[in-house]
Point group: D3
Chain length 286, copies 6
């Protein structure tokens, strides 16, 4: 770098360092805790996976003689990493309670794996589903994040589901309530909003949106936070690829929603919705 | 960690280590080989890319004098990594045969690159297509995985395409049969099912699904595996963004399928399908 | 490796090293510069993020006393990395000019963050938006890449937006012109073409395509590059999930485009378009 | 691992885990702080070197424009790492005070560099001395460790000089008192004991020991700690290679001690000691 | 690299690749196993240290609740790494037997630590001795290597002691027989030959050589391997710094050998040897 | 860090950043090249070792089929790294010439290996000597550094031998002239000065110094650089452990110098020198 460049750079640096110019955008470390560390979060998710699916994630030669050592090491590391990243007074207690919930989460995920296997003729084994299916990865991260959110942990749950979003293209808000035997096939583009409620045996294909149609504004024109605004899907609902369901509507149980359609009203139980007929084949427009 | 926490943790660890509770979910290393290593797979894909597109991937200063050294090192590493990850008796032979197919795969990919370049006014050079286009990455991984699947390699091919799925948002099952000069533009959300058949010069845009509509169940209610259930796209078919084509239907050659539509029936050669007209503009619903 | 394998491998290596067989596909390092390094680009993006959002990216304990040191180190590293990756005669000048634009880019991104926060009831703080929202990551990379493209930097801008595409599923061409207070919610599958023009306060949901319908070919049948072929969205336009807008059409200001629809014609200002009614509920087809 | 091995391993593990068998050997983390982290210590030494010799260690392109950024970042990291590794109540204060002494330590080291340069005809520049001479590395670590010891920091100083011992073969106890313009040439095997006192302009060659001859035992036969038991070398003393000086003796100023000799008594100022004549040349013994 | 250089390089590469020119120097992988991996050996030593001194090496927060997990993981990793590096038919059995000896080795090392602590007034705690003293590191590596050598493991033991030699400057041949409560102070330059025998409570200072004086040649003039040729030190012998003891001589019990002397004959029990008087102080020679 | 600490730190940083205070100690990057990179040098040494001893260093499964690929890659990397680190106008030419000398250096090292094997009854194979003996490592680095020095490369050669010094405790100045079949046993503490000259078949043991006795000063009292001041050892000389030979003396061919002695005068060919008899055994002094 020549001297001229070096001086001009110094001017920009001064500008970029002007604390006032950051407004309230930057995270004020003096007044608040630092943001949770992204690399720590990635390790937390890896440890959870190793505890939930031993042999698939983490150490790959787990057997009856050594499983206790591996579960022991992973639990302990998880406890330490997690309690360090939780910004709360009773961080230790929360981390411990979360780990105590892992056996129950493992049981739920086992049902999710079975649902994915049964619902996909291309799946050749449970092992393939656990190792390869992005749906299972996203659902695992959701179930972990949801448990943390219920324990009152701020920020972290959302960061965990966004990590899974980046990895799988599946965006499940940790606030959503999702029942047992849930499966997502392929999954890229799936969005499940913060107040969505899904029953048991629900199945979604890629590109499905369970979103908000509109939301009430407060007196200053800002959206009112926390209002229920996402769909309710009852038991056994299937939604095909790229369908969009918006607003606090209820899709009745045993219904099937066809692909590429736009639903903003309640759908009775047992319904089957499909897209209107396509345009005339002689069109020159495309 | 205080002593109290430590003891409670010990109880959970015992629970998580209960071998019976794992049911058939965990990979039984005693009876079977370990799962293929994910990091080894990533290196395998990197080596294939370095062999298929020298100068773009791997060492970046390949020239006439040194190319043989680089191809030599990469081939040898690939041979060793691959034969180690293939769980089969004749693993060495399979790895060698696969590497012997790489020149032919390179020739096919060159045609794919040209197709992408010709089909996109924004593409400024072959180099840009190879270096930047997620479509080419996903197609490369598919062609690699498809070759391995044909050689009878289990699990690995699916893991390779899922790596590409995570990287590009494009999910091509290694079982699909895809012709020459194939291109995918942008690509996020594309799904191509296990029994799909695509001719030459097919072009897909982002969000296109070539999926299964439904599938026959066996007497116990489980899906029958291996039945042809995905679309056939003949030569020169173009499918626009977010279109969904489901079931064992045939899209005749030279057809164009418009975006955001839902196709579950055969389409005659030379057809152009577009979405029905949109709703009235005065709607207050949105 | 046994001797037999080793000899056969040698034959393939020779074939793979045949320089002529590479056609014009490989990057000719003798005649041209090496491709920009992917890992260098990733570091460049990290440094930009650290400069634009101090406290969130890079060092996490920035305060009034030390911010100048951190901005200084990051600026200097960025200058060096960037000027090394730009293949141009006046690379130093370009790198410096780019860094001088960072304060203005930071100001624009602050407005984007506020727009995302105000537009999403699930957002709990500016911090959450900056740390978690893939939309902000993709828009940051776009604004960086767009600035570099305007300075005449080749290849790099496209590689930067493709990195963001892989991370977020959002594909914004660096050539697009995008106004202030821009937001993308969820975002997976969004595509914004090279000649698209977006006004201020535009909001897009996941799966939205702003693409090209068709493009003129030259006398040899190749697409003519550089022709305006993507939509214009005027101020305050909202486009819901999975909508596809194709061609050089104009969506007039204050319009709302509903999800899952296909738009290939101009839309008057203040319009609201939604999908046609869905098919009869008694259908057995799905 | 077969099942038989696995079970036998389990038995050894039990034995190795028997807490009582550890006696007082293991570091009791419950009652005490963890040992300082070795990798943290290595980083601490690297940061000190970067602060003391900018341009040689740490960032290699320091100039007038950017030096403040680099000193700033390094000081801050050093403060944080150091205060974390010091096991003391007022760790923050100690870390700060230590950093405040660095300018003075830098001034002393500059004199040591000049002494080494002037004392070695093979040295071509100050730069070569700083970059290559193990003597300077060992003396730097000693001066750092000595400063920490004076501030009451436990364990750490000794670990720092042992790191230098492993790197250079020079073992200087942090408790030794060493004057200005000190130099060690080559240095492998040099030992300077905890209570040694060296004046200014002392020069040692490789293999020199300044050790303890014997030490008083207490009533239980254990050595009494803290008694002065190592030599005093006054100003301008030179000691040649492999000489051994033992006990609380004084080597008077301006003396020269020849190589390979064994000194256990005081030596008057200005003396020159050399080894007794070697044995007859006709000896067959060797 | 320009084309000219590139061609000349090609010529040298050909010369360097000439297999015949390697004579018997290179390790013939076709006929023999590959050399043990240096990085694997380093990990093996780290794991042994973690098992022998829990809390000091490896995980730093071992307590009663978790020690079994850590010993379990380390033992298992050690078993796998070790059995992979041992080039022998019954590699698994050897690795297991070695691990079964670790509790006994730990007990011996505890006595070595106590000996070092009692013998050095500068040592402030057992913890300091374990964490900082190069003597303990070298003795640990020796005891590990010696056990492996006794089990018939080739090459590895020597590589392990050479790693310690590089780290500490102390060179103990794994073939030496060394009793209990052994200590080495400072240690740089200590050499203990392959057939040396040391009793209990032996103490050596830095620079001490226990070497071979000369060795019988066979008819072709090559040294006869395996002949006892290094000293025997009986119980309670102390050897001061830089003393050289050569040949199959016996230093009788309770003897003290002063520094910088050269011993090639037996020394009776209870002796005290010191260097001859130094030369006249007026010498001008130095 | 609290605000108070932060402010005090800022004051020290200012002091440490005062450019004038650095005197001429710091490396002035504005006026000169940056110092050679230590990590680059380590890689350069690794590459040389891989080229000189294929199968031992670098890739461990070299065979007749693949050796050319490995020599090719290593040579090319070496060329690039080396020409980047050499601060000279004709850096490319120097790097190439150096690589062209590697076959000759390999031939010399092969003789050194044989000499070490023949001279040590404990050596079991050439392989053990190459893999384990620090002497061979130090001699390899010396021969590399010496060749670079002869080609006029500044600074680098000295840094290379200092890396070996740190690793092995053997300090050979790259300026020394050393003949064929050279061996060093154990080696810790060996020092060979810049103007030393060694014939063929010379053998040194640990702790041997070939140093300077004194050196002429110029009018300002500074040592005159470049004057021959280190010993000449003629063919077949053996020097035992811890012997010190100082000044421009000549040790005649076939001589043996015993351990722990101090030689400052010429020694006739065929001589055998040993230490004077040790002191009376009844001494109470030690």
């Amino acid at each position: 770098m020549n001297v001229h460049d070096s001086k001009q750079l110094k001017t920009v640096i001064k500008e970029l360092s002007d604390f006032e110019s950051l407004q309230k955008m930057h995270y004020e470390c003096i007044e608040a805790d630092a943001m949770p560390s992204l690399s720590a979060l990635e390790e937390i998710v890896q440890l959870c996976r190793a505890l939930l699916f031993p042999g698939f994630f983490g150490y790959d030669a787990v057997n009856k003689q050594n499983i206790a050592y591996h579960m022991g090491i992973c639990s302990e590391k998880l406890y330490q990493l997690l309690s360090k990243q939780i910004h709360s007074e009773n961080r230790d207690e929360i981390a411990l309670t979360f780990i105590q919930q892992l056996p129950a989460i493992r049981a739920m995920l086992a049902e999710d794996v079975i649902a994915a296997y049964n619902g996909d003729p291309a799946a050749e084994s449970y092992a393939e589903v656990i190792a390869c299916y992005p749906g299972i990865r996203a659902i695992s991260s959701y179930r972990i994040a949801h448990a943390l959110l219920k324990l009152g942990v701020p920020t972290l749950p959302r960061m965990i589901t966004e990590l899974a979003h980046s990895e799988t293209g599946i965006d499940i808000h940790p606030g959503a309530e999702i029942g047992r035997s849930f499966s997502i096939d392929h999954g890229t583009g799936v969005v499940i909003g913060a107040t969505a409620i899904l029953g048991n045996n629900v199945k979604l294909y890629q590109g499905v949106t369970l979103g908000a149609k509109s939301f009430p504004l407060d007196e200053e024109g800002n959206p009112i936070k926390g209002v229920p605004r996402h769909p309710i899907l009852e038991d056994n609902v299937i939604v095909y690829s790229n369908a969009t369901i918006l607003g606090r509507v209820t899709i009745g149980k045993d219904s099937t929603i066809g692909g590429n359609i736009w639903v903003t009203q309640d759908v009775a139980a047992g319904s089957r919705l499909i897209q209107a007929k396509q345009g005339s084949k002689s069109s020159k427009e495309v």
